[in-house]
């Protein structure tokens, strides 16, 4: 188990290294010169040269990448030995062209909003998805099953950027039951936090629970047909025990897999959700950075979300091994 974990971690790190190199490489062949971008309203060739030097853009690409990676682990110093020396402590992802803030600080600052969306919505969609899936599986063929699977199918075909606007129109503009979505700190303003997060949670949960409902239903129906379940039933165990202990346990594995990947993806930035609901999380940070061609922030957010995706992958694999005795780790 331990050596498996170690191997997964090593391969994850290698993948991350390659991802970061690709991101770094691609963004630095951009048509727009980063020095020009941070040059402001009055810009001259002389000033561009100065900025290029400040940002160390006058170095070769491998040198820049090397310093970038070094910055993540041990920090780096810009303009070393000059009076304008600037110390960026590890983990250093550089400074935003737009706001001059350290990218690491920006990521830290935006993570709570994204985490709020991800965790709130995921609890909700698990609840809705699992319960409707279980009911459907147990009442297979009845109108409840048909209705909930119909809704699930419809929901799976809907888009956040459509449903989000429609729900905002209904609940914020017409009925005025909710304030416009946004982010307030749950520590200081718990009520506002819930009210402002309600629409993103509901929208995401509605769309995503569909997949979980279908997965749960399909998984349970398959397991119900397995020999060991029939045996348990023959042994006279109560329906409840069978359904919960054997059937759900057996059907949960694929759900855990999908859930891990969904959550990992969301934590790295709920790009569309944050864009639609205007929530200042990692996704909004990155779309804004793209609009402003703020390269250090783009690089930082892409790498940061890749970390979440890779970690989620590793965790899912481990959980898979724990949950499903049929999977043996070599």
């Amino acid at each position: 188990m331990f050596s498996y974990l170690l191997r997964r971690l090593v391969s994850g790190t290698v993948v991350l290294g390659i991802v970061s190199a690709i991101v770094f490489g691609i963004f630095f062949i951009l048509p727009a010169d980063p020095a020009r971008l941070s040059c402001g309203k009055t810009c001259s060739e002389e000033l561009i040269v100065k900025i290029r030097h400040t940002l160390e853009l006058d170095q070769t690409l491998p040198v820049q990448y090397g310093r970038f990676i070094k910055g993540i682990f041990v920090g780096r110093t810009y303009l070393k030995g000059t009076p304008a020396e600037l110390n960026c402590t590890a983990p250093c992802l550089g400074y935003s062209f737009q706001t001059d803030q350290p990218v690491t600080a920006l990521l830290k600052d935006r993570l709570p909003a994204t985490a709020s969306i991800a965790f709130g919505a995921s609890i909700l969609w698990l609840l809705i998805g699992l319960s409707s899936g279980i009911v459907s599986a147990l009442r297979r063929g009845t109108w409840i099953d048909k209705f909930s699977q119909g809704v699930a199918l419809g929901a799976a075909s809907l888009q956040i950027y459509f449903v989000g606007l429609v729900l905002q129109f209904i609940f914020v503009n017409k009925l005025a039951w909710l304030p416009a979505p946004g982010y307030s700190s749950p520590l200081h303003y718990p009520v506002d936090w819930v009210k402002q997060m309600a629409l993103p949670w509901i929208t995401l949960a509605f769309l995503l629970s569909a997949i979980y409902s279908r997965l749960t239903r399909a998984g349970m129906i398959e397991i119900m047909g397995e020999d060991y379940v029939r045996t348990a039933r023959a042994k006279g165990l109560s329906n409840r025990t069978i359904n919960m202990k054997h059937v759900l346990r057996g059907a949960i594995t694929p759900i855990v897999t999908v859930f891990g990947l969904d959550l990992g993806g969301l934590l790295g930035g709920a790009v569309i959700t944050e864009y639609v609901f205007n929530i200042p999380g990692l996704g909004k940070l990155s779309t804004d950075a793209v609009a402003n061609l703020d390269l250090p922030v783009i690089t930082g957010t892409v790498i940061f979300s890749a970390v979440f995706i890779i970690v989620a992958n590793i965790l899912v694999d481990l959980l898979y091994a724990v949950l499903d005795p049929k999977v043996r780790i070599q």
């Binding site: 993948v15 963004f27 727009a32 905002q168 790295g268 930035g269």
Partner: protein, 321 residues
Amino acid sequence: MSQPAYAAAQSVTGRSPSRMAWERIKKDRTAKVSGSVILIFIALAILAPIFTWIIHSSPDAFHTETLNQEFGTQPLGKLGGVSGAHWFGVEPRTGRDIFLRFVFGARTSLIIALSATVLATILGVVIGLVSGFFGGKTDLVLSRTMEIVLSFPSILFALAVMPVLESVFQGWGLPQGNGTRITVMIFILAMFGWPYIGRIVRGQVISLREREFIEAARALGASRTHLIFREILPNLWAPILVTVALNIPTYITAEAALTFLGAGVIDPTSDWGAMLLASVPFYSVDPMFTFIPGFALFMLVLSFSLLGDSIRDALDPRSSR
């Protein structure tokens, strides 16, 4: 399940597996309805120019006279300016005909999604075949590549890489504007889509590779190309078809999402994602403008999903239900 030997045996009864699948689909009501919806959308997209002739306008033509002159954000009349001349109303600020933008938007959305599907399928099938058949180092490199591609935050990365690729493509001599942007979008969607097909094909190839009929062909001295394309590929069409059918809606929504986030086609070309994006400032004052592209997208995606399910069920009757 469908090895040539059996297939030959079955042909005695006169019904090949594909024929059986087709007959199952023909009996499936869901498949018929969803298939018709898709055909209607495709027909609208193909026939779009006819509507410019019927309506005597073009999707890009401004009709500022249909707007409140003082506040150009408000179309005159009910439901966002629905009238005999403008069946779905007009766009705020420009007065462009929403129906025409809707049918021309179907064109853009479908062209991008379907081309990306084709490209991703070809890439995925070829790489999956090579990876699964050759195994060893080739497989290691290719499956690691798939893993890396799948580790990218795809939407975010696609957003960021659009301008980069656009300039690279322009450097290769493609003209500025939507032609290049559409090409870049197809390319990006395919770039992030192929590993999904690649993985499935690779898995199937690995399980087929050691089967007797392949061994037999190998023993008879068949070349690798012959083995891959004549022996293995014909056995893969069912899983490939199912994956493709279920993936099309993903490409449609990804295309709309990217355009919605501002990275896709640009004005004046009509596109559903672009229409949704343009409607954002107005959803509270002119909800009709948001509703039309949003609902169309929903219908198209739902129809493709249902059809995909039906195809899967028809090809493998034991699955699900």
